[in-house]
Symmetry: C2
Subunit: 436 residues, 2 copies
């Protein structure tokens, strides 16, 4: 047995005692307890072996069965629904699961919402190993709590984690944990139409060391925030600044992953667009000025083709496009309509669905020929966000939005997705959270 | 006077009292005190006006004169120099300067090294508003402390901050503060040859809110870490994996800024290179497979041209290349040699300096014709890092490194830069830190 293996019993007991200290900390400090998540791990610790045989026994998987719950002793009153600002208020509890490369995932804990305490050298502050998801919990017509396609978020979260050399996990385990969290904070889900509880799973690297490499420590946490409807007083179509000098993503880059580092660089272009009178950026790519995304949303363009058909176009998942859950849902609804699997009266009978490249040249030509029918963004926050104007190379392209501010396809998609999310129509995408 | 202006006296006094609470906290909690940096600021607070006249008086600038120093009551013993691992040990003190969009920069504080406490919704965890610099303090031959071109770091840090809509500052103020920090932790600067105190200025967004936008709160902090020589036992040339499928930066992107988000995505490619037997990635760009950077360093290639001249080539600052301080220093030394301003015996008499694009095709051709003289990375950690092999499209290009593992130009640059850093030759790039 090597020296490395001989040192493992003491390492294992250190881990066990860390876990019991955590339990103790949770009992002793009901309010404002803080976690120290960063720790220094030497490479020698990166092996987990049986202390008796020295055999490699693998890392501990994320396991919802080992959940510890510590309820708040001082529940807050959720703010009035009409006062909600996106992502500004947080529910009473949060979920935390530390990970270490020597031991794997620790026992998950649901505990009072509280600050994170991290060493100033923690890699998250320096090299941005960070990724997140956006999900929503809804109260349905019968008061039941529902999630929308959480498996899609888990799949993408693991893809992002793998890309940043952060730990992956079994998606079903985190869905179970999120259900528990949402159940516990059920009072924080506003029940007014269009309201929901926004759920933010986040994964960060926390190793306290400045070397650039795979982190030895990470923290998975989930917070949630009650949010109001995106459109309080009807649709508000947005104007987009299509400036080809700002490029969001690139082939061989990381645009198709939901990484923190993809978001901060978009803030200044958005501020510059706002100065010019546009609400968001239309991100272009390449010499042909291909349309890719809009702000932090996926993009859909609707064209009337020469044969009279209505074509719903969205850029393909070519490595530069975030694989949005709403994007995928819109494509699925449209394809089920076309195939006859689930026809919808408010979608065109002659609809064609295309995941394909589309350039500014094609958009301009369609506009000039009166064939540019609609344009909209798609994402979890708004579901759909109609576009009525695109500023490009000094002039504006105007896009029809109808008298109520949204095109027919955008409206049909919003209605169908909302119906599914709220259980007004039964659909496998909507997952009921049983009281836990 | 508007309602907004009328509310300002109370806001101002809140700011003042926050500042005195900080002073009090510093006095009361000599050990393990923690800061809560995240706060929720409403847009209405984004104006700072004179409480009497209502006139806009601007935000408070970063001001070294308002520094508060709280020395540790329990100084640690610096670890033995031979045991140092890069970025794993930290000195007794750190610098913190919070910023808020309503008030500007708070008074800087130097205080014991201690964890940061941040709300789990703080934007740093979600959208990666983070940037940093790498600098070093050296003990010179007379025991004086020296910094190397700190103005270059300040300039780049402000450029990065502006790109992420984070606050900027007057570089001289932060240099003064860093000098104070380094002075206070002088015992942490190892005096053995090749050793130094690595300094890590960092700026992060800390607003506790999930909306994607310019942060209302930020934290500038500086930590430092004693480091040993990069080459303990002579040069160790590295082998590079030149895989064009992984792209570090692109035109219109953020590769020329020192952002946290540029680093985490490089970790997995580095791990994949390691599996194939290479130490680092050679980052290529475009159809011509242009060479851009190596790992987290700038790149230099030395060619022997047809006319017999020796050409030192580095990719130009075209928006994809980090403007490295070592890169700039190597170019400066080479140009001073060529111009006669400061000729060096160990550089070729017929040297030509080129900031220009160079492709893998050109490198292969030069190698085949026996004209590929040297290749090396350049950065703060190693100064120069010789390359002896590049794996590209299934075969290896071998590059001469000489019997001691480094080429002549790399060695000449390392010697010259080290001489300046350590004050062995007087040069305006080397800044003496007077005892403060």
């Amino acid at each position: 047995m090597s020296a490395l293996h001989r040192s493992l019993p003491s390492l294992r007991s250190a881990v066990t005692s860390r876990s019991s200290s955590l339990r103790k900390a949770l009992q002793d400090a009901p309010h404002h307890h803080q976690y120290r998540f960063a720790s220094r791990t030497t490479p020698a610790q990166h092996v987990r072996s049986d202390p008796m045989t020295g055999e490699f026994i693998g890392l501990k998987e994320l396991d919802a069965r080992s959940l510890l719950i510590q309820k708040t002793q001082s529940p807050k009153k959720p703010p009035p629904s009409q006062s909600l600002v996106f992502g500004a208020n947080f529910s009473d509890h949060m979920l935390s699961v530390p990970w270490n490369s020597a031991t794997g995932w620790s026992a998950p804990t649901i505990h009072p919402y509280s600050p994170l305490q991290l060493d100033p050298s923690a890699v998250i502050f320096h090299y941005a190993p960070s990724l997140f998801e956006g999900m929503k919990a809804y109260k349905d017509v019968n008061g039941k709590v529902r999630l929308f396609r959480p498996d899609m978020n888990m799949k993408r979260m693991n893809t992002s984690a793998d890309r940043l050399a952060l730990p992956t996990f079994e998606g079903e385990q985190l869905i179970t944990l999120i259900k528990k969290l949402v159940s516990l904070d059920k009072a924080w889900i506003p029940s007014e139409p269009g309201h929901s509880l926004y759920i933010r799973p986040t994964l960060i690297g926390t190793q306290a060391a400045l070397g650039v490499g795979a982190t030895t420590d990470a923290l998975l946490f989930v917070i949630s925030s009650p949010v109001g409807p995106y459109y309080k007083t009807g649709f508000k179509p947005v104007a987009l600044d299509a400036d080809p000098s700002r490029v969001r993503a690139w082939p061989g880059g990381v645009g198709q992953f939901k990484l923190g580092g993809n978001y901060a660089p978009g803030i200044k272009p958005q501020m510059e667009a706002a100065k010019k009178g546009y609400q968001q950026n239309l991100w272009l790519f390449g010499d042909q000025h291909l349309l890719t995304e809009v702000g932090t949303m996926n993009l859909f363009v609707v064209l009337k083709n020469a044969d009279g058909s209505i074509e719903l176009v969205t850029p393909p998942l070519n490595g530069m496009i975030l694989p949005g859950v709403t994007r995928d849902s819109i494509l699925g609804i449209a394809r089920d309509h076309v195939s006859g699997e689930s026809r919808l009266d408010d979608l065109p009978a002659n609809l064609v669905v295309s995941e394909r490249e589309i350039s500014m040249g094609e958009v301009i030509k369609a506009s000039e020929e009166g064939r540019l029918v609609e344009m909209f963004g798609a994402g979890t926050a708004a579901v759909v966000s109609p576009v009525d104007r695109v500023g490009y190379q000094g002039s504006d392209i105007h896009i029809p939005v109808g008298s109520d501010g949204a095109g027919e396809i955008a409206k049909a998609m919003l209605k169908r997705i909302s119906d599914i999310q709220l259980g007004r129509v039964e659909h496998p995408w909507s997952v009921v959270v049983e009281d836990l």
